[in-house]
Symmetry: C2
Subunit: 324 residues, 2 copies
């Protein structure tokens, strides 16, 4: 067995991402790609969007959660799974557990919007409330793990989750094999790590980039400084990207990613609206961060063929950010 | 040559729809299908949605316009094409003409929203303004035809347009062969006619239904009365469905369609929001009319496997109908 400090940095090999793909195939959708000549003209590049907003639970997170849950042996799985994400990972873990027929426990702040609670309960998970701070969240989470003996499935600091997230890139590169580059948003770095490892397993020369709100720019700053930065204190509109990275995802990004760019909040809103208008998709703010970086020129990919992962479509339809 | 009264009722055979499919294949997208278990639970049926909002120009109209334009012989095509639709058909005809490299002329009321003008000009068409009434529109259209010798391509009363619209059903039944029924919105009846003929060419036993706003319920009333009704006077939110039928489309619907149901305006808004929420698609109000009929029970298809054509995604993102 590897020593713990090794374990904490372990990421999946490309072959593990291929195995993840087969493992989760019965439980996730092969999502389509879309494109728009009007949007290409605005961006000055040829863009192909992988529609993970059309994925189960409305986000790519279904891939990682299903791979983690279906990688557990039967005895371990029977004890159930636990997480503390109130966002798409929480719903994804609930979905994966329901597919396997095991209990799921999701810890969320007691001020979480009703819609987020419903997203988790829809798939039969038990919601545990905590005060809205990190210490309370970790205490409740530890208590749930202790009482249930369930397995904590971290939203990104987990090699099976990373392998699952990487499967979207495999499909994208099959459907659009001519791409020069891939871009994904960066929050904790699970998607970007998995995407980069998967893509380089298929084609060594392809460039993989991260895109991050400047308001939550810890991954970009850390990438350029060569050392991991503390988690951001941020209210970026891209609510899926408010977390920091982990040593595991940070090391993977340093090894496999060409650059991480940042964009403004106004740029995110503009890019999101353009995606709704031209792609006819409801993309959540986090999903618009790659396009925002392309439009603001912090990702200088004019003329290139670029694949973008549209990470999710879970938004409050009553309050759209371009309506103020 | 058939006598005129025959010509005016002529609709495509299934084989003509297969030929249309091959003819337009280089110019249109094979759109994906999507589904949502949450939406199925609400509707009490298994629903499969064909995403023509992701089609070129954001609507199925690209199919019919491309088939009509690419069915013209070279000498005729060189004179250009003309239409008077300011909606999706206008943009679709402009797109088709641009693909063929011929002129397109689109007559639209001088009070048309800027966005609709831009949708047509984007593809290089010439816009001709008229006063906002039927007589003025027809006069300007006749004048443009006389001056340019261009070919008038009607939005639905045209067998090549009908054949093109029917190609979406061929793809849908390939991707979801187990469907019991198909439902499309009804405006002029081109899509519904083409869908029904195409579907019955593939599988004689499948049921095909129309869905119409009660506020513009001329097709449903005519279908039940057995005689064509005059065009509706309506401000239904489903702005793509405000036109009446033609003898051609009316006869085709009577021959091939099982029923035409109607729904309320509030039902359209509710169904549209549910589609945005659960399918993660921007569907225009007309696209939500089939789901509204299913939810209001005017289409009694509980427990069935139903294919729904999502006709378009062109909406004003600044003013969504559930925000008042």
């Amino acid at each position: 067995m590897a020593p713990p400090e090794q374990d904490a940095l372990r990421v999946p090999e490309p072959a593990a991402i291929e195995r993840a793909r087969a493992r989760i195939a019965p439980h996730v959708l092969r999502t389509p790609i879309v494109a728009s000549t009007a949007l290409d003209a605005i961006a000055g590049a040829t863009l192909v969007f992988k529609c993970e907003n059309l994925q189960r639970v409305g986000a790519f997170k279904a891939r990682g959660a299903c791979n983690a849950v279906f990688s557990l042996d039967d005895a371990t799985a029977a004890r159930g799974v636990v997480t503390h994400s109130s966002g798409n990972h929480g719903a994804a873990l609930a979905y994966a557990a329901q597919r396997r027929g095991i209990p799921a426990h999701v810890v969320m702040p007691d001020n979480s919007p009703r819609a987020k609670q419903d997203n988790v309960r829809r798939y039969g998970a038990t919601v545990h409330f905590c005060d809205a701070n990190v210490a309370a969240r970790e205490a409740v989470c530890a208590d749930v793990v202790a009482r249930t003996a369930g397995v904590l499935i971290h939203p990104f600091d987990n090699e099976h989750v990373i392998a699952g997230q990487g499967t979207a890139a495999l499909e994208l590169l099959e459907d659009a094999p001519e791409l020069d580059a891939l871009v994904t948003p960066v929050g904790g770095g699970g998607l970007l790590s998995g995407t980069a490892i998967a893509a380089h397993g298929v084609r060594r020369g392809i460039k993989v980039y991260g895109a991050e709100p400047a308001e939550a720019g810890d991954a970009a700053a850390g990438f350029h400084a060569g050392r991991m930065m503390p988690p951001p204190v941020t209210r970026t509109i891209a609510d899926g990207l408010r977390s920091g990275t982990s040593p595991r995802t940070f090391a993977a990004m340093r090894a496999h990613v060409s650059d991480i760019a940042t964009c403004s909040e106004a740029g995110i809103v503009r890019a999101m609206r353009l995606m709704w208008e031209h792609l006819k998709l409801t993309a959540e703010p986090s999903s618009a961060v790659p396009l925002a970086c392309l439009l603001e020129g912090t990702l200088a990919l004019r003329g290139a063929r670029v694949g973008v992962i549209v990470t999710g479509g879970n938004v409050d339809l009553d309050r759209l950010p371009w309506q103020t």
